[in-house]
């Protein structure tokens, strides 16, 4: 890992309970390190994640938001991640249209067996966001401490 030691981006990771959260647990069990910048919020399914939550995270100073769910076809609720895929495709495209760096948002499908992928994804995402620097375009200055 080579993250700029002064600047530590804040990363919010939404993980679905059935696949990605379990994948994160597996990464932990296997002692696969990923940066401490990543903080996970557990949701039942990736389709629970409202675009509002993502914008809220940015508003409150997050530098990157990643959403993890079951692979398409493997959703515990059969179709949740298909809706997620459409919602996020449109949201991310809109953020890009508004001039927000497209690298700050990501959707990754991580199964309960993919602990290594979870850790690798978080490493990569953190590096990518760190390279962009602080999120200045979306944060709400009132929320800064």
């Amino acid at each position: 890992m080579s993250i700029n030691s002064e600047y530590k981006p804040k990363i919010v990771a939404f993980c679905c309970n059935w696949c990605s959260y379990a994948g994160a647990d597996l990464a932990g069990s296997n002692r696969l390190a990923y940066p401490e910048n990543v903080k996970i919020i557990r949701v039942p399914c990736s389709c629970r994640v409202n675009p509002m939550f993502i914008l809220r995270a940015f508003q409150r100073g997050a530098d990157g938001v990643i959403l993890c769910g079951c692979h398409p076809g493997d959703c515990h609720y059969t179709s949740g991640n298909y809706y997620t895929r459409r919602r996020m495709a449109l949201l991310f495209s809109m953020l890009e249209y508004l001039g927000i760096e497209k690298e700050r948002t990501r959707v990754e499908w991580v199964s309960a067996a993919e602990g290594a992928k979870f850790a690798a994804t978080m490493n990569d995402f953190t590096q990518t966001v760190a390279a962009l620097g602080e999120n200045k375009r979306l944060e709400d200055l009132r929320c800064k401490r």
Partner: protein
């Protein structure tokens, strides 16, 4: 304001090795709502749980945060602990500081800081938690099986054997389905009737089973454990309880020109008929489309000859309403229509037949009494060409065929070829195939026997064209391995038509709010782990309505579905997960977005009167979630434009509070 207790677990050195647990407990003490904070070596141990229980009582805690291992590990444990101390179990949240923190970070400073933030998020969430109470619904201990083929029969028998009443609804006059039409079964070659009809008799004799034959499901309301179903019993103009099945009416009826659907129209039956000798129930049915009496009021011969007095020309359709706890879809399959496959001349020549028609031609109870004779002239065919994958694996011809493999054709064709060569050694048999697929117990051995012992000519390649010339069928085909074109003069061409779900399945799926794939096969709740359950709770899948299957697979799936039904009916009450969606009626627009994304059909709409400004009222359409059906995915909460829909345990405000706590 909540009174929250924070309990930081050391997990021995698992957590305490890289997280300063005392510092975490100390830091979280100053979070809003926290009135108590402590740490302990093993929170999940008896002693640890006692600490939690005592603190709940002593500090009158309304919420608990346990900073420990993953909630997937011990959330249930700590919820029980809280419950034992009189706290609602859903007032407990876990901060995962082991898997997500101590195990992946090496540095004490880093681990501690992160653990504090994770704890903070959990505290922020608990501040907004509300007690949740699981709902309980009673279970009607009766099952409905839709479809009376081998799948439905097996499911019904298994459920009935376990002691629960079962109703079978079959749209045809008899149960038995496709298996009753089949001659022999692969790979053992035992006769289908010999193994099926005893099961049909078992069904008829089982006290727990009722058969609604010549009936259709008309309406399904309710939800798991409590379905209310309307069944339409079509008028058969014969009193079922009076008819003895003697068959005299079916011999005397003067209307002889009715295509016999049981023999796929290859011979005729009378207007009053019993589909086949072993039909269950063995009761005559009058075909209203052909009966002279019903059409013109003149005839009445069957009533005259019926000594039992069972004929009743005034019979009307009857609607039966019944309650069920579980419903099994066993709606089965049909070969696809070959109208669009002009290249095989199916509509041009009587001697181009489908494999199912071939079954009837070789069946002793069929139109030719089991002799293999050409439908056109009744002569014995000397050259037979079997064509595989007619409409199966047909990605390029999606307008007329199916993209999927129909799975059973390779094996039944091997059976047909082998049986033909066995009975008529003077017959040349060709099989044209793309691949021969034989995964199954003794399947490949069976196919090898057809090739090696019975001398069936298997040719890799597709038939391009079949053209009738005189009394012959000219078959043009390619042999891909020899790389040459073949011209075969055949007497009979047998097409292995793809199979598709029965046409009635779509409307049944809609009634059941069960989902289907693009091919109209029912979808499973999970393709690997819940293969016999529909995503809709209380609806189960049996047989080919879920995907192409042979008989052994169908029967094992049917029994699996029965086991699931028995497991459900054995319960007196269903306890539902309280983390379900709920709509705020005051905010709901009634727009149906939520119902459209709900994979379980848990959302319905009611018209409700609301008070409006200026002392007026208005009736508005609002969503209502059935907590017994909702599984709590939350898809509806995002689809809802007004935010009226929220999810217990994962409310928007709770998730936003976590976001805020993390980003603080």
């Amino acid at each position: 304001m909540q009174r929250i207790g924070v309990f930081v677990c050391w997990c021995g050195s698992n957590i305490a090795g890289t997280v300063d647990v005392k510092a975490v407990a100390e830091a979280l003490r100053s979070e809003p709502g926290v009135v108590f904070s402590t740490d302990y070596q093993y929170m999940c141990s008896q002693a640890g749980q006692e600490i939690i229980k005592e603190a709940i009582k002593e500090h009158k805690l309304t919420g608990v945060v346990v900073c420990s291992c993953s909630p997937r590990m011990h959330e249930a444990t700590f919820r029980k602990t809280a419950q034992a101390a009189g706290l609602n179990p859903y007032m407990v949240e876990i901060a995962n500081i082991r898997e997500q923190c101590s195990w992946i970070h090496k540095d004490m400073e880093t681990g501690t800081q992160k653990a504090i933030i994770l704890g903070r998020a959990a505290v922020a969430k608990v501040n907004l938690n509300a007690p949740l109470i699981p709902g309980q619904t009673p279970v009607t201990k009766r099952a409905l099986v839709i479809g009376g083929g081998i799948a439905g029969i097996q499911t019904a028998l298994d459920i009935a054997e376990a002691g629960f009443p079962v109703d079978i609804v079959e749209k045809k006059p008899t149960i038995g389905g496709k298996m009753a039409q089949i001659d022999k079964t692969f790979p053992t070659l035992d006769c289908a009737a010999c193994i099926l009809t005893p099961k049909m008799v078992d069904v008829a004799q089982n006290e727990n089973i009722r058969i609604f034959s010549y009936s259709e499901v008309q309406e399904v309301k309710g939800f798991v454990g409590n379905f209310n179903v309307k069944i339409k019993k079509k008028a058969r103009f014969v009193k079922e309880d009076v008819c003895t099945g003697c068959g005299i009416c079916t011999e005397k009826c003067p209307q002889k020109k009715v295509p016999n659907e049981f023999n796929l129209g290859m011979d005729n039956r009378r207007a009053v008929y019993i589909p086949f000798a072993q039909a269950v129930p063995k009761v005559a049915t009058i075909d209203a489309d052909y009966c002279t009496m019903l059409k013109t009021g003149k005839c009445g011969l069957c009533a005259k000859v019926c000594t039992a007095g069972a004929i009743d020309y005034t019979q009307k359709d009857e609607i039966i309403e019944e309650q069920y706890g579980a419903i099994v879809a066993a709606t089965g399959f049909n070969p696809i229509s070959l109208d669009k496959f002009d290249e095989y001349a199916y509509n041009q020549s009587k001697d181009v037949i489908t494999s199912l028609e071939f079954e009837r031609l070789t069946n002793a109870a069929g139109p030719t009494a089991g002799k293999l004779l050409r439908p056109s002239d009744g002569k014995h065919p000397h050259t037979i060409v079997f064509v595989q994958c007619v409409g199966s694996r047909c990605a390029a011809c999606a307008d007329k065929g199916k993209e999927y493999c129909s799975k059973i054709c390779c094996m039944y064709t091997a059976k047909h070829a082998m049986l033909t060569r066995d009975k008529y050694p003077d017959t040349d048999v060709y099989v044209f195939y793309i691949d021969v697929r034989t995964p199954g117990k003794n399947f490949d051995e069976f196919y090898r026997r057809a090739v090696e012992e019975y001398g069936v000519h298997y040719i890799k390649g597709m038939v391009g064209k079949v053209s009738p010339q005189g009394d012959k069928l000219m078959v043009q085909a390619s042999d891909l391995l020899a790389n040459k074109q073949l011209h075969i003069e055949a007497d009979l061409v047998v097409l292995a038509a793809a199979i598709e779900p029965d046409k009635s399945a779509r409307s049944i799926a809609t009634m059941l709010t069960a989902s289907m794939d693009t091919n109209d096969f029912f979808t499973e709740a999970h393709p690997k782990l819940r293969p016999v359950e529909s995503p809709t709770a209380g609806v189960f899948l049996s047989g080919t309505c879920q995907g192409p299957k042979d008989i052994p697979e169908t029967v094992s799936q049917a029994s699996a579905a029965a086991a699931k039904v028995i497991g459900l009916l054995a319960k007196d009450k269903l306890t539902s997960n309280p983390c379900v969606a709920h709509a705020d009626e005051l905010m709901c627009n009634g727009c149906s977005s939520c119902a459209n994304v709900c994979p379980y059909g848990a959302i319905s709409y009611i018209d409700k009167e609301f008070r409006m400004p200026n002392r007026t009222t208005a009736i508005r359409r609002v969503a209502s979630v059935n907590p017994a059906v909702c599984q709590g995915c939350g898809a509806c909460t995002v689809a809802c434009p007004s935010g009226a829909m929220d999810l217990n345990g994962f409310e928007s405000a709770q998730i936003i509070a976590e976001v805020d706590a993390i980003c603080r």
